[in-house]
């Protein structure tokens, strides 16, 4: 490897050829401020349009300032990252950006997490000397995401996520010059577009231009309403990330504190989506075996591979982009919706409360879940199975608002009968987890033998596309995994072209799976946080004695008392769904 020697802020540094000034400076502890630059290391996602010009530095012998994020180091280069010229230019550039930015920081959803706000603070900006016209656009509210384009600073991160990573193609830079901004075609509303609500754009937006729809106020009202019984379910990936909002080390599991906090907030029943995840495995795993057996018995009309269907953004993606393949995914509803359907039937009967008085709330690492709740097929006479969903971030905000000292909370458990879960359910929170959980159950149901080893290392990791062949006692089962919709598209195209050799594929819309969901605490480009969350989830699984969904006693009881058996008539009615061709659903305002 060619090495290059250069000097940054009078300090010598040696780097590999192809290293940028930004990376070289970072190596010796010099953090050059950036704004548009984003590098999601490990996911092959990089955004460096060199557009914001915040990271400019002075390079000796160069006429103008150089953007550190996009300028490669050269031999003998002498760089100054904090000369008067640099500091003035950087400050002026940020002042310019602020001069075309609303001043509603105090009430902005992104306040406290805004990278522009941080930068203004860091650079000591106390006035904006350039006053003038501010660009204004229509505000757009969808079931999951709010666009307030007045706050767009043209960093293009969302455009990269939406187009290059997710290949959804809703967002693009439009217009030019002062009017340039990122928006959907014809500046149409998101809910008229092919947006999947994966929320990856929200995750990377440095300002308040893209935020999630806020359900906290509605939740506070419902909790205060004595007429209502409020039930909460919490998704597996939430407990691996919530602690970050309270300054805990990434990867700290806060399952017990979270349950206590929810109790403090006044929920009537604290349940776990993990319970429904086990239920999902029962239905989806059985469906897989069913299709597989039919296929092996000679019926080639059966649709294989089977695709997982837990992720609402992924579901909406194939409904828009591959409607001709809508028979392939499993018909199993997502754990969130299975939970809602069971809560408002089985559990409602148990406690003898009318479903209309029951409020089912979900805590999700996701913003697409907000949209999923609102889908008509998940309503009974207009009453949704899950009333609404709040994100991990929103829950943290609620806990803070309620003066709860999260760190001081004792651990507590979930309520019964929908609180017990297996380790298989916990790993739903990461890419590869759903399919591993399904394999654990399908294997034992198929072979009738106990698994020799529960940890399927070959299915784990953060590679965008992975595959493994699992030996089902002589029957080789080919498993595929994709996370990130761009990777999902590749697998779908293979299936379309008849080139796929998989029997089952797990797909998650977000890079990393739910641990990297659109509703999780912001990672600000630090992907080691995702790794820590993933590790925490596998640790929780490993620490459990109950690690297979079909051994969950509450699940067994549910089938005995209510559902009968997997894929029964009642299961079909409550736990399965069908998909829609949404190709023609996009319309122009």
């Amino acid at each position: 490897m060619d090495m290059i020697k250069l000097i940054i802020d009078k300090k010598p540094v040696e780097v590999e050829k192809g290293t940028t000034i930004l990376q070289a400076a970072d190596k010796i502890g010099i953090k050059i401020p950036t704004l548009c630059y984003l590098n999601l290391g490990g996911f092959n996602i990089e955004n460096k349009p060199g557009g914001c010009r915040v990271c400019v530095v002075e390079v000796e012998g160069r006429r103008n300032l150089a953007p550190a994020c996009a300028t490669d180091c050269t031999e003998g280069m002498v760089v100054n990252t904090h000369s008067i010229r640099v500091l003035n230019a950087r400050k002026t550039v940020v002042q310019l950006i602020l001069s075309d930015h609303p001043f509603d920081c105090l009430v902005c959803a992104k306040s406290g997490n805004c990278e522009l706000q941080d930068l203004a603070h860091k650079l000591g900006i106390r006035e904006i000397p350039f006053q003038g016209e501010q660009s204004t656009y229509r505000k757009d509210t969808s079931p999951s995401i709010i666009r307030d384009v007045d706050k767009c600073i043209m960093c293009r991160r969302c455009e990269v996520m939406c187009n290059e990573v997710q290949t959804v193609g809703v967002l693009s830079a439009i217009n030019r010059g002062f009017q340039a901004v990122v928006a959907p075609a014809f500046e149409m509303n998101l809910d008229h577009s092919v947006c999947t609500y994966c929320g990856q754009c929200v995750n990377v937006c440095p300002t308040g231009a893209l935020t999630e729809v806020d359900h906290t106020n509605q939740l506070i009202n419902d909790l205060a309403d004595p007429e209502k019984v409020v039930i909460v379910q919490t998704a597996p990936a939430v407990r691996a990330a919530l602690g970050e909002e309270f300054g805990m080390k990434p990867g700290t599991l806060v399952t017990g504190k979270m349950a206590s906090a929810l109790r403090e907030l006044g929920f009537d029943y604290i349940f776990d989506t993990d319970f429904a995840a086990d239920l999902t495995i029962m239905e989806e795993g059985t469906e897989l075996l069913d299709r597989l057996t039919t296929y092996l018995n000679g019926d080639k009309t059966v649709k294989l591979p089977i695709l997982t269907s837990c992720c609402p953004a992924w579901v909406k993606f194939f409904e828009h982009q591959f409607p001709e393949m809508k028979e392939i995914p499993s018909t199993a509803r997502s754990p969130q919706q299975m939970f809602g359907a069971i809560a408002k039937t089985y559990f409602a009967q148990k406690i003898n409360v009318d479903r209309k008085k029951l409020v089912v709330v979900s805590i999700m690492p996701c913003v697409a879940k907000k949209y999923e709740c609102s889908r008509d097929e998940f309503k009974v006479d207009g009453n949704p199975d899950v009333d609404y969903s709040v994100s991990t971030r929103e829950l943290a905000s609620l806990i803070k608002r309620a003066n709860i000292d999260f760190m001081a909370l004792p651990d507590s458990g979930f309520d019964s009968p929908m609180g017990e879960s297996s380790g298989a359910a916990v790993i739903f929170g990461t890419t590869g987890g759903v399919i591993e959980a399904a394999v654990r159950t399908a294997y034992e149901l198929h072979t009738g033998k106990p698994l020799p080893k529960l940890d399927f290392e070959e299915l784990r990791g953060l590679e965008g596309m992975r595959s493994a062949t699992i030996d089902f006692d002589g029957l080789p089962i080919n498993i595929g995994i994709a996370h990130g919709l761009g990777n999902a598209r590749k697998l779908l195209n293979e299936i379309k072209e008849g080139k796929s050799h998989f029997h089952a594929i797990e797909i998650m819309a977000c890079p990393g799976g739910c641990i990297g969901g659109g509703g999780q605490p912001y990672i600000h480009g630090d992907t080691s946080i995702l790794q820590a969350r993933q590790k925490a989830i596998y640790n929780e699984d490993a620490g459990k004695t109950l690690r297979k969904s079909h051994e969950n006693p509450d699940i067994i009881r549910l089938y005995e008392e209510f559902l009968g058996k997997p894929l029964s008539h009642k299961s079909h009615e409550l736990l399965h769904t069908h998909y829609f061709d949404r190709k023609k659903e996009v319309f122009i305002d």
Partner: protein, 598 residues
Amino acid sequence: MAQQLKMHLLVCGGTGCRASESEAIQTNLERELKVHGLENEAKVVTTGCFGFCEKGPIVKIHPDNTFYVQVKPSDAKEIVEEHVLKGRKVERLLYSDPAKKEHVADSRHMGFYRKQIRIALRNCGFINPENIDEYIARDGYQALGKVLTELSPAQTIEIIKKSGLRGRGGGGFPTGLKWEITSKSVADQKYVVCNADEGDPGAFMDRSILEGDPHAVLEAMAICGHSIGATKGLIYIRAEYPLAIKRLKIAIDQARNYGLLGNNILETGFDFDVELRYGAGAFVCGEETALIHSMEGSRGEPTFKPPFPSVEGYLGKPTNVNNVETFANIPPIINKGAEWFASIGTERSKGTKVFALAGKINNVGLIEVPMGTTLREVIFEIGGGIKDGKKFKAVQTGGPSGGCLTEKHLDTPIEYDTLIAAGSMMGSGGMIVMDEDDCMVSVAKFYLDFTVEESCGKCSPCRIGNKRLYEMLETVTRGEATMETLQKLRLLSNVIKDTSLCGLGQTSPNPVLSTMDNFWDEYLAHVEDKKCPAGVCKSLMRYVVIPENCVGCTACARNCPVNCITGERKQVHYIDQSACIKCGTCLEKCKFNAIEIV
């Protein structure tokens, strides 16, 4: 054949003259020749631009070089009957030298042409651009033949390097060096791109070359292709240039038919072909990375260099981008040698430069002068001085990237480096002359308006900074600015130059900085005295009645569109300043010189 004809009637077919019915002139001339049975004696030829657009439409008669100006279709009869038939020049259509007040028949004796040396424009106005034979007759495709049969790619590049030719599109990067870098990039496919997206407002050299001599560009692109190892050429041309597009298409077809484009050119085994790509109205696409993105079907946003197009360009392949005028210089350099070219011009700027001379000048048009010619020679000798005998105030070069130069710069020789040193730049060759009636703050504002409109919006200093510059200039022209505004203007201008992503933003504040440097008093007048010395800024004008002259005729009051003038008949009238919209109607209607602007 053409050689047997006694006379050629050359009619300018450039866009400017066409707009003044030159096509009808051509038709009428042909009809008149027929009427008089002269079809075998004389022939009408449509040519490219003669350059002297001010006096268009132009008809030139060969072989005697008679130069008729401002010809109307109805003049055809007289030209044929008098000049062609009887050999008598039509005096009233000859160019009249404003200084000597006498008619000049021979174009070579006209002040406009005397100081010009035409290399890039060598064929414009001489040949029919739609006829490849006429190009070939003037040594066309000879250079390509020489390159393909006698020279190695390295030798060709060496000649271009030695000639000292620098990019004529604005940057002035040495052309030979660019070719050399691209030639050394290793790839299975390379591209030659001709940048014909002339976007500088007030510049039309590239269009004139393409309209008047399209084969020159095709030949040069093929030479470039051979030198760098490319078999594909693309011309990125403004869609707003229909005539140039038409002639290029004809030229490409003809060249293919003659085996001068396509496979196995001149039986040498060299393949090269050219396609057209259309611009769609974005000035920033003159920047080569933006141009490449546009050719790839995307928004024309520039990207950070490196990688340079010579390494990673169109479709990721090494791409050599040169502008039209640069290419037009190539064949003569090959034909006549690097030494010949290097002998013209100055130490650091070789050859000639084409300028589009416009504005408040007598001889608007397209000129080509040796590098090192002074601005004074261009404006006062070639350009014939300032229109209507007014006083010279400034000359703007380099378009929106350039600056305004003044009286004190008039003896500056025109070179890449001297212009930059003077606070302007060569640019693509727009040269706009301004007189005492032009307000320099407004001129700066005009250019900023253009930049704001044309900024791609990718980087923040250009997207927002230029808008803020424009807004501050607006407060100056409205008399609302303070000295602090002027300080901020300068500070922000420097930051925009220092931090912008591409050449557009890096140069966009030049019109502001150069006018502040050279016309500081005028800025001060706007800010401190709330006056616009040139009388352009409406907000700073007040129309007032001169009581001693007012006879109370009521004409002003009756015509005022906002009824802000009061006064009884035969009494002195009064203009209410708070309601006045400064339309100037009162001044126009007053027959007694009783209204003045203060």
